[in-house]
Symmetry: C2
Subunit: 414 residues, 2 copies
C-alpha cells in the first residue's frame, strides 16, 4: 500500500479543447416557459421574436405644429411667408376627422396621426397665427418631413430579437411596443452546489482551530445567480464517502446540473471521481485541464446532466466557473455568446511565465496619468480577496512565456 | 388667447450642469437594511466592511505533501536526496497533534494547518516513500514555501469592501470568508412610474387607430430594476389634469422617487409642470436640457423626493434615464460611481453636427475584418428598435461639430 497518490493527470487538455470535448457530448435542450413582460429582464429568449405588424402602424407627427401638404409650403420662408387656413386639430389617440385640402392646415401634436391629404408637418416654432383661423408659415417642409412613416421602425414579419438573446431594458421596451405581454424564455436550470472538505464550516459559523469557512458555497451560488440560473446550496460534505454520496444523490434527484467544489484533485481524497465512477450512467469527459488556476477541474455527465468538479481553492473555483461552468449553463438557456469587448491596457508589472498551462491573471485596471493600465494582483489561489481587488483578467496562452512590463494587453473586464 | 405654446425653454443647461444643479439640492441619504448573504448579490454596501480577523487565521499548506523544517532539506536534490522520518499526518480541519522536530516530516494536505516546528511543505511530487516510516525528499523548499501565512489574504482591521460597492459574486465569496451572514446594504428605493398621453394603451392591449402601446412603462420599469431599485408602474394617465393629479398624488404618497414620461414638453399639454407648480413643496430645478435626444427633460423635487419628467419618446426616455435618473437613483443606494471603460472603435459612418446640444448617438459596435468599428444606428427618437439594434452610445460634446467617418471614437457599451 502506498500512502502517495497518483501525482499527475494522464491527459490534460487546454481549456478550449476541454470544453470542446465536453460540449461534444452535451444532450440537453433549453426548455420553454412563459413569463410576464415585467419579469423578463435578463432572461434568455426561447425563440425568435418577429414583428406582428408595422411599427408605427400609422404615419405619426414627430413635432408639435401643423399638418400640411408639402407642396403648399414649398416656397415658404421668413421673407415669403405663406398663409394657410386652419381647419381643425387632430386629437391625440384619435383618427383625424378632417382632411388637409389645398391651402389648409390642421393643428397636430407630437405622436398624433397625420390627417389624410397631409404629407408633412410644420414645427410650431416656424409659424404664427394671423387670426383664429389662419396660420403664417415661414419655412418649407419636405414631403414626409417631421413625421414617421408607417413601418419606419419595423415592418410586419421583421426579425426583432433573436432566440437566445439575454433581454435588456430596451428589449423589454421593444416587446411592449409589439404587445408581447407574455414572453417565451428558457427555463432557468436548478444548479446544485456541494462544498466538500473536512476543514469547512458554514459561512455563518465561527471556525474552530484549523477550520475555515465555506467560501465556495456563497461564491458559486452568486455566480450561478449572475449566470441567470437558480442556485441550490446543499451544504458541506465532509471527506466521507457515505455523506458525500448521499448529497450527490440528493442533488442528482432534482437538479439540472451539479457543481462540487473541492475533492476533485487527484489524490487519496479524490472523492468526487470515486463517487462518479460508482454511478452506472456517469461519464467523466475531462479530469485535469492545462490551466492556471484550475488544473484539477473535472467535467462529467451523469445521464444527460452535467456534473462539474471544481477546485476547492476559491480563486480556482471562481476562474474555472467562468471558463467551464458558465458556458455550460448558457446551453441550458440557449444563450448566444455575448459579444464582450476587452479593454486595452498597458501592463504595469510583468506577468511571469507559466508552466505550459494557459494562465488567467487577475488584474486591476485603472487610469494612471491619462493612460489605462493593468496591474496584476498577486496572491496565491486560496486568497479570495485577490479577486475582490481585481476588476478584470488577462489570458496568457500556454505558448506565451511571460509578458513584460509595459506591453499592451487585452483585459476581460469582470 | 393664443393657440400657440411658448416655443422655447428659457434656460437650457448642458447635461453636466443640469445634474450639478439638481444634485446641489439633493437631501436624501441611503437607508440601511440587513439582508442575508445569499440575497446580497448586486446590492450596494451601506458601510465599509473591515476584516474582523486575519485571513487565513492560521498557516495553511497550499499543496499535498510533507510539512518539514526548511533547514532540514536545504541541500535536497535528485542527486542528493534527504530522508526524513514521517511522524504523523495532519487531519484536515484539526489542529496537528505532532510537532515537526529536526529530521522529521508530517504528512499534510492542501488547506491543512502546518504543525508546530514546520515552516514549509514539500510537494508530494518531489517525494517517494522509503518505507512506511521514511520519506525521500528530492527538492528543497524555502522557509514559508508552499504555504500561506496567517493574514496573507487580509489582516484584522483591513478595509475589505468600501461603502457603496455594488456587490459582485467574488465579493459575496469574500463576505462568506469573514462570516458576514447578514450584510448591511442600502434599502432599494421604490420608484413610481407614470406614462402620460391620450394616445397610449397598456402594452397588453390592442391599440385602436391612432393609438400606440405604452412602451415607456415597461422600458423604465426594466431600467429601474437594472439600476437596483424597485419599479412601481402606476399606469397611464390621459392628458387630463384630474386623472394626472390623482396619479401623481398616489405616487408621492408612497414612492421614494417619481418618473413621469411624456407630458413634459413645453406646450399646451405640459401637464407635468402644471401639476408640480400646484404642489406647495415642489421645486423645478431644471426644465429643458441641451442634449439630443432629451431636450424637454424636467428635474424637480417634491419635498425631498426627486421627480423626473422624461420625454415621451422611448429613445429619449431611455437616454435621459441613463443620463439623469440613474445617477440620482445611485444616490439612494450610496453607490460609488462605477468605473466603466469605453471601447475604442473606428467610426463607420459620419455623425452629423448637432445644433449646439450634446449629442448621444446610438451605435452598433462589432468586429469588422479584425478591427472594432462603431456604426451609428440611424432613426428618429421615437423608434425603440433603434436602441435594440445598438449596443453602445457615442457622446458628442456640444462643441464638436460632427465626427467624420474613419475617426476613432470612445463607445460606452450598454
Amino acid at each position: 500500500m502506498s500512502l502517495n497518490p497518483i501525482s499527475a493527470f494522464t491527459d490534460v487538455p487546454l481549456p478550449e479543447e476541454a470544453l470542446t470535448r465536453f460540449f461534444a457530448e452535451w444532450q440537453l435542450e433549453p426548455q420553454r416557459e412563459l413569463v410576464a413582460l415585467d419579469s423578463a429582464l435578463g432572461r434568455c429568449l426561447f425563440e425568435d421574436v418577429r414583428a406582428p405588424g408595422d411599427l408605427p402602424a400609422f404615419v405619426r407627427s414627430t413635432v408639435d405644429g401643423y399638418a400640411v401638404r408639402a407642396v403648399d409650403v414649398a416656397g415658404a420662408s421668413r421673407a415669403a411667408p405663406i398663409v394657410l387656413r386652419v381647419i381643425g386639430e387632430v386629437p391625440m389617440g384619435q383618427e383625424p376627422q378632417v382632411a388637409v385640402l389645398p391651402g389648409t392646415a390642421v393643428k397636430i401634436h407630437t405622436g398624433a396621426m397625420l390627417p389624410p391629404g397631409a404629407d408633412g408637418v410644420i414645427m410650431v416654432e416656424w409659424t404664427s397665427l394671423r387670426d383664429d383661423h389662419h396660420v403664417i408659415v415661414t419655412q418649407r417642409v419636405a414631403s414626409g418631413g417631421n413625421s414617421i412613416a408607417r413601418g419606419e421602425d419595423v415592418v410586419a414579419g421583421q426579425l426583432l430579437l433573436t432566440k437566445g438573446r439575454r433581454l435588456r431594458p430596451d428589449d423589454i421596451g421593444g416587446l411592449a411596443a409589439i404587445g408581447l405581454a407574455q414572453v417565451p424564455v428558457a427555463r432557468r436550470p436548478l444548479v446544485a452546489l456541494i462544498s466538500s472538505g473536512d476543514e469547512l464550516v458554514p459561512a455563518y459559523r465561527e471556525p474552530g482551530p484549523a477550520e475555515v469557512r465555506d467560501i465556495n458555497g456563497a461564491l458559486l451560488a452568486a455566480l450561478v445567480q449572475e449566470a441567470g440560473c437558480i442556485p441550490w446550496h446543499l451544504g458541506i460534505s465532509r471527506d466521507d464517502p457515505v455523506q458525500f454520496r448521499q448529497l450527490v444523490h440528493t442533488a442528482l434527484a432534482s437538479a439540472d446540473a451539479v457543481i462540487v467544489s473541492g475533492g476533485s484533485s487527484v489524490g487519496t481524497r479524490d472523492l468526487t471521481r470515486a463517487i462518479l465512477e460508482e454511478l452506472p450512467d456517469s461519464r467523466i469527459v475531462v479530469h485535469g485541464v492545462a490551466v492556471r488556476p484550475g488544473k484539477p477541474t473535472l467535467l462529467a455527465y451523469v445521464g444527460k446532466h452535467p456534473f462539474f468538479g471544481l477546485p476547492g481553492n476559491p480563486v480556482s473555483a471562481f476562474a474555472t466557473f467562468r471558463l467551464f461552468v458558465r458556458p455550460a449553463l448558457g446551453r441550458f438557456l440557449g444563450s448566444m455568446e455575448e459579444q464582450r469587448f476587452t479593454v486595452r491596457a498597458r501592463l504595469k508589472r510583468p506577468i511571469p511565465p507559466s508552466d505550459g498551462r494557459e494562465d488567467y491573471v487577475q488584474v486591476r485596471v485603472f487610469e494612471d496619468i491619462g493612460e489605462i493600465v493593468a496591474e496584476p494582483v498577486l496572491g496565491k489561489s486560496n486568497l479570495i480577496f485577490t479577486v475582490v481587488r481585481a476588476n478584470g483578467v488577462v489570458r496568457m496562452p500556454a505558448t506565451v512565456k511571460g509578458i513584460p512590463e509595459g506591453q499592451m494587453v487585452d483585459v476581460w473586464p469582470y
